[in-house]
Amino acid sequence: MTSVDAVVDRVFRDETGKGVAALIRVTGDFTLAEEAWQDACEQALRTWPARGVPDNPAAWLFRTARNRAIDRLRRDQVGREKTAAAARIAALEAMGDDMHEIQDDRLRLLCTCCHPALSLDARVALTLRTVAGLTTRQIARAFLVPEPTLAQRLSRAKRKIREAGIPFRVPPRETLPERLDGVRAVLYLVFNEGYASTEGDLLRSELCDEAIRLARLLDTLVPNEPETAGLLALMLLQHARRDARTDDAGDLVLLEDQDRSRWDHAMIDEGLALLEERAPAGPYRVQAAIAACHAAAPRAEDTDWPQIASLYGRLLELQPSPVVALNRAVAVAMADGPDAGLRLLEPLAEDLDRYHLYHAARADLLRRGGRSEAADAYRRALDLVTNDAERRYLRARLASLPA
């Protein structure tokens, strides 16, 4: 990447959310705001390499995007839309030139993109497109859907925002906590899609980076929210293990077998520091505390499993779900032996019968207990798994069983 490209890339990433959010507030039109911003970025790519990067690239982009929005409104207005367009043009002109003086509307943008009246798929796509500034192509690739499908998903979401009257604003105090929960859920979903992709390659690290960036942004926009800090800590502590999670062949390396010197210790320290502040333990904080137990162990055998088992017990109270119960069973098995874990797995059999990790966990515990049913459990997990790296891992385990 040339230096101009690097600057352009950084400015686009850093400023898109803010610029688009401001244009949406003034025009009330997602599509117009995005297209105008896109125009400005394209113009930057054409002119900056030859003429040099302007002194204040963010201000240049914003001014250009605003002018492109005005051009588009002038060009497209017809009939009765003329009055509305004129009002928008006047509002855009009144915004002024200085991007640093315009109000930061990114929280409104996040709340609107993550509105519960949109489908979860739409919330994820819209947040990555509009707030994070990823291109439609990048998002489509990350989620392994054809680009036209994703483009359609985005345009349907924007139409719903317009037609259903989803407001572009920060929700009032009464509903803000539940809406922030919704925003965090979307960010965590983006992270998890990168962390444990449901199909194909195990790691799509750029989605994790994006989710972390957005969580940092949320933490800046609404500070002192323990669950946002918890979510950020959780992501950092998990993502710190990225380089150690797969081997050279792209195969999954279990936590206990990972080369801990390959963990990103700066990222771990940042995650741990976020947890130092005393705060009520919400689900993200508890999960981050679990990740912290792993991060704090110099060797796998130093892991404080009783503490992890107890944290999973706490998480199960906050978030009763069979998947959390499964994780708790595994932690209990590590603390008290495979039989204790298997006993906790039994009542989950019905709920988790279609979940490959249930059968994989059960198979591992049966294997460690030297039980012959392990082979059938690995086969069942293999029937259900969709991720290539996990499939190879399960096959290797199955093959290693004594005949």
Binding site: H115, A117, A164, G165, I166, T175
Partner: protein, 116 residues
């Protein structure tokens, strides 16, 4: 914006509600309607007679096909509606959440298309 709030609930549950229970429910609806009216948001709202009184009409090849009963047999039936004029979807959601039937049934919010 104008929104139609469609109230769906299991009408058998309503049939089995005691007179006192019904009275309490009507009072709750009444209070909600008055509040919306006072704010100038209320464009209309009514309770519908049960689906046993429903008639469905289709026209195929110019011929009328009239059948007894609702369009679809479902566990929850359309039992009433509010027609509101409020600022945005969030306001409509806040209102819908206070409709008594939202507690054991559901409320579907449909924006009205702006007329030409």
């Amino acid at each position: 914006m104008k929104y139609l709030l469609l109230i769906y609930a299991d009408e058998r549950e309503w049939e089995n509600t005691s007179p006192e229970g019904r009275q309490a429910m009507y009072e709750e609806y009444g209070a909600l309607m008055r509040e919306a009216a006072d704010k100038g948001q209320m464009l209309g709202g009514d309770e519908l007679a049960p689906t046993s009184s429903a008639t469905t009409v289709r026209v195929a090849n110019g011929e009328r096909l009239v059948t007894d009963g609702p369009f679809a047999e479902t566990k929850e039936q359309l039992g009433g509606y509010f027609l509101l004029d409020v600022d945005d979807l969030d306001a409509a959601i806040d209102f819908a959440a206070r409709i008594p039937a939202a507690r054991n049934g559901s409320v579907e919010i449909r924006p009205l298309v702006d007329g030409p």
